[in-house]
């Protein structure tokens, strides 16, 4: 279980991205984090794996205090938490295979990894994970020769190399054509259902939340304004989360 308590993040320029966020995630949930751009979704997700240092508050994960971890401990925690990014964050000039293997860096000793030497087992893992996202034939092409949807699938394969217990997905489909959104989210759903990986996923479109999430929280100006089932978000809630001018739109 992941418990976030009174999480505050104030950036050096004074911006308050999170103003005391508290919520809990049960193991095996698919939690959607919704809210407008700038509401603090990205900051929240990055505080969980400490890519961003929270100003105050605690994050407990199965009784491990993530916020108190230091140096090597952080890296040991990070390697159990996979992350998927809006811009995919692949190394564009490296091959797909190298990108996927780099997901294993938290497990391998430093020196051999600097020489790009990975174990047979890791190569086998990379093959399997690429097969899982349907890209086994693309292992040796450069990452930037793939389409956006394919790149995000490589991103998923990279996260899977970590054999994660949690996956943080920061707007995983926002840079993709809407029609590709489902293909990516279906992979996340599959991992969530079949392997029991907890998923925390920030999303823009409400109908995607309805379709995939088991629970949702909504952020507005760094505060939680909604917690509950996706089906509970009615028109009144919607206006509260997205502001009075917002209109509901749907993508198929």
């Amino acid at each position: 279980m992941l418990i976030v308590k009174d999480l505050v993040k104030t950036y050096p320029n004074g911006t308050q991205a999170l103003k005391g966020v508290s919520f809990e995630v049960e193991e095996g949930e698919f939690l959607a984090v919704i809210g407008l751009s700038g509401s603090g979704k990205s900051t929240l997700l990055r505080c969980i794996n400490r890519l961003i240092e929270p100003t105050s508050g605690t994050i407990l994960w199965n009784d491990i205090d993530i916020t108190a971890a230091k140096g090597k401990e952080i890296r040991l925690i990070r390697r159990q938490i996979g992350m998927i990014f809006q811009q995919f964050n692949l190394v564009k000039r490296s091959s797909v295979n190298t990108n996927v293997l780099s997901g294993r860096l938290g497990y391998v000793p430093t020196f051999p990894s600097l020489l790009h030497s990975f174990s047979k087992a890791d190569h086998e893992r990379a093959r399997n994970n690429l097969a899982m996202v349907g890209l086994e034939d693309k292992a040796h092409v450069r990452a930037d020769s793939l389409s956006g949807g394919q790149q995000q699938r490589v991103g998923i394969a990279r996260a899977l190399m970590q054999e994660p217990k949690i996956i943080l997905a920061d707007e995983p489909v926002a840079s993709l054509d809407p029609v590709l959104a489902h293909s990516i989210l279906k992979y996340l759903e599959q991992l969530n259902k079949e392997r029991g990986i907890t998923v925390l996923c920030s999303l823009h479109f409400l109908d995607l939340v309805h379709r995939y999430a088991t629970r949702a929280i909504a952020l507005k100006d760094g505060q939680v304004v909604f917690k509950g089932l996706p089906s509970e978000i009615d028109d009144k809630q919607f206006k509260e989360i997205y502001g009075q001018d917002a209109e509901r739109i749907e993508i198929s």
């Binding site: 990070r78 190394v91 000039r93 490296s94 780099s102 092409v141 450069r142 190399m161």
Partner: protein
């Protein structure tokens, strides 16, 4: 009642207070009215111009006039007008308006250019009165010493005419004159002769090191190419690790990294501010004259320049992959290896190629001080008045540099395109890589030999090197030395100013002729394009230092000759850059303005001029930076300015004073670099 009078006094205060301030201290009124940048600029310009006017009066009697026993310079008149403009400006700012900047620019420029004109010793009449000299030197330059003809028992140098006579005689099947390649060609390109054996000959031919054996004497041009190649290789090797120490985003992750970052950045800036040729002066004291000194001098300067470019490239990488690798639990070194290095490879390669181009150019002049390569040859030929031999070297350099430029830019474009290639290597590509590797190693060994690299010399410095180090720590700051050095430094800056202005003004019209989107429509204009571009490229391929000799012959030794040489290279580079800026304009606005029914002139003013002004300004500032550096060495060939002073101090082993010169060069170049960077930020 009281409130009205109070209001009134406030208005009085706000409208008259600032102008009054500006009257006392220029720019202070603007600062008080919350225009700090404007105020500071006005203050600095006034202070610099006032200093220059008084300085010019003292050393050159510029604008000297006597009014009732009181001697002053009439250059104070435009300066006082500038001062009054600043008062008016402060007044208008308090009324939410500003005084027209163009007036201030004209007034300041008047003072500056009048002083520059005198200081750089511009004598236009000399261009005319010594026109015969120009004709003589021009004839020699277009008839380089490549051929000799045998007649009446002796060899005589002859120009292209000989070749023509020889070929036409052969074609007509008549007895041809006895034309052959001259000795000079051997000096430049190499010839069969005797060489001193090195370890390589010992290995391959079984002779003793140092023995004189028959072999191929390396030409000065080949030596130059080798110097450029070796310096590029060495500087790349050293610059890569240093660049990581100078990258902000890397060092902020390392404990104590911020401090290292600032130290390395400062050192790089200092090393870069000193020109390669000046480094050459220092290095010859260390390892002695020769190509090796040239390689070291080029390497030092090039390491600093490359490391700066590399580190900026590291700072501009996409942070996404870094974040992603950190999120997988990778440590610092793994992040560098998997997220940073793959991203920077193409830009590093392209900067190295660019540097190779620059190093080849520097290698052609380093011989002026270091005694290796074609620069040394040029210096010697000029000394004995061998202008045809000098011309032969010039043409050869032009061909080599144009080729290098072509190869380097083609290669760079291909790298920056960065097309994904098949990751799986074919057998053929493996064989090809192996061939490249073998060729590379062979070239490396050859160049190592040609540039007579001797690492032992590094640990066995020359006798006066210790003194040089000691003297550089305690440089001579006595007033007389400082005054002399300041005088030469101002001359140097003024040379750069005049050369940039003159070169750019002449280049402007030609740059339109060399823009492909404006010319090249008909066959005639296509030829104009090709010819203008060609002239730019040929002139650009030769360093200003090599041109000086021509102008020294024409207008005599001194700053005027140096300024003209700088103006030639400025003309060529600015012309090329301007024409490329014109080629890169966006056709959208042209279409849009034309669609409103505007005529051609309106179209140019509203659609083209706004687009080309920022790049033009930016290139001018860039050229000004280059010219300042170039002007510091132009004196080595008789072009006046600080270079001559420096050369004299080094030559007479007065290292205390030489240190002063180097220090002042570093400071001035750093200040001007900083200023131009600020100006570029502000306007471009």
């Amino acid at each position: 009642m009281t409130s009205t009078s109070k209001q009134k006094s406030n208005i009085m205060k706000s409208t008259l207070f600032a102008p009054l301030l500006s009257l006392i201290i220029p720019g202070s009124g603007q600062m008080a009215l919350k225009k700090p940048w404007r105020g500071f600029t006005v203050f600095i310009i006034t202070a610099v111009l006032a200093f220059l006017v008084e300085w010019g009066l003292k050393y050159y009697e510029i604008g000297k006039m006597t009014i009732g026993g009181w001697t002053t310079s009439w250059l104070w008149i435009p300066l006082i007008l500038f001062w009054l403009w600043n008062v008016l400006d402060a007044y208008l700012i308090s009324k939410q308006k500003t005084a027209p900047v163009i007036v201030a620019v004209i007034l300041a420029a008047t003072v500056l250019y009048l002083i520059a004109w005198i200081v750089t010793d511009i004598n236009l009449d000399r261009l005319v009165t010594r026109f015969d000299a120009a004709k003589t030197v021009a004839t020699k330059v277009v008839n380089p010493d490549y051929f000799q003809v045998y007649s009446n028992g002796e060899y005589k140098v002859c120009g292209w005419k000989c070749l023509w006579e020889y070929v036409s005689a052969k074609v007509k099947d008549e007895p041809a004159p006895l034309v052959s390649l001259s000795d000079n060609v051997g000096d430049i390109f190499g010839r069969k002769g005797t060489i001193t054996a090195t370890w390589w000959e010992k290995l391959t031919r079984g002779v003793q090191i140092g023995e004189r054996i028959p072999g191929f004497e390396t030409g000065k041009l080949i030596e130059t190419i080798a110097i450029g190649l070796m310096a590029t290789l060495f500087s790349t090797i050293f610059a890569i690790p240093i660049s990581f120490l100078a990258a902000h985003n890397i060092m902020s992750h390392v404990p104590g990294g911020k401090l290292i970052y600032y130290i390395v950045r400062t050192l790089l800036n200092i090393v870069r501010a000193v020109d390669t040729v000046v480094w050459g002066l220092l290095i010859i004291v260390w390892v002695g004259l020769g190509s090796f000194a040239g390689v070291i001098a080029l390497t030092i300067h090039s390491v600093a320049a490359l490391a700066k470019l590399y580190s900026e490239e590291i700072e501009h990488i996409d942070p996404g992959p870094v974040e992603a690798i950190e999120a997988t639990g990778g440590n610092f070194f793994q992040v560098i290896r998997y997220a940073v290095i793959p991203q920077i490879i193409p830009s590093f390669l392209s900067y190295t190629l660019l540097r190779w181009d620059i190093n080849m150019r520097s290698a052609t002049v380093i011989g002026f001080v270091a005694g290796g390569g074609i620069g040394f040859f040029v210096l010697e030929t000029i000394r004995v008045g061998g202008y045809q031999q000098y011309a032969a070297a010039l043409w050869a350099v032009a061909v080599v540099i144009i080729l290098v430029d072509l190869i380097s830019s083609k290669w760079r474009n291909r790298i920056l395109e960065d097309k994904p290639r098949a990751a799986q290597k074919t057998t053929w590509s493996k064989i090809r890589s192996l061939i490249y590797l073998i060729l590379g190693v062979a070239a490396f060994i050859y160049c190592w030999n040609v540039t007579s690299i001797n690492l032992k010399n590094l640990f066995n410095p020359g006798v006066t090197f210790g003194r040089l180090l000691k003297d550089f720590v305690s440089i001579d700051l006595s007033p007389s030395v400082l005054a002399g050095v300041t005088k030469q430094m101002i001359t140097t800056i003024m040379q750069a100013l005049m050369a940039t202005t003159l070169g750019a003004i002449v280049a402007l019209p030609f740059s339109f002729l060399a823009a492909k989107n404006l010319t090249g429509k008909s066959r005639f204009s296509a030829w104009i394009y090709v010819i203008t571009r060609g002239v730019f490229n040929v002139l650009r391929s030769i360093e200003a230092l090599l041109y000086v000799a021509i102008f020294v012959y024409w207008v005599g030794i001194g700053p005027f000759a140096g300024m003209l040489a700088l103006a030639i290279t400025t003309f060529a580079l600015i012309g090329k850059l301007f024409s490329e800026a014109i080629e890169n304009i966006d056709t959208g606005p042209i279409e849009a303005v034309t669609a409103t029914g505007a005529n051609k002139l309106q179209m140019i003013i509203y659609a083209i001029v706004p687009q080309i002004t920022p790049p033009f300004l930016s290139y001018l500032i860039y050229q000004w930076d280059i010219n300042i550096r170039m002007a510091t060495i132009i004196g080595f060939a008789g072009g006046g300015g600080i270079g001559l002073t420096l050369n004299n101090y080094f030559g007479s082993l007065q290292y205390h004073k030489a240190g002063t010169v180097v220090a002042i060069i570093v400071i001035v170049v750093a200040i001007l670099d900083f200023t131009s960077a600020k100006i570029r930020e502000k306007f471009v």
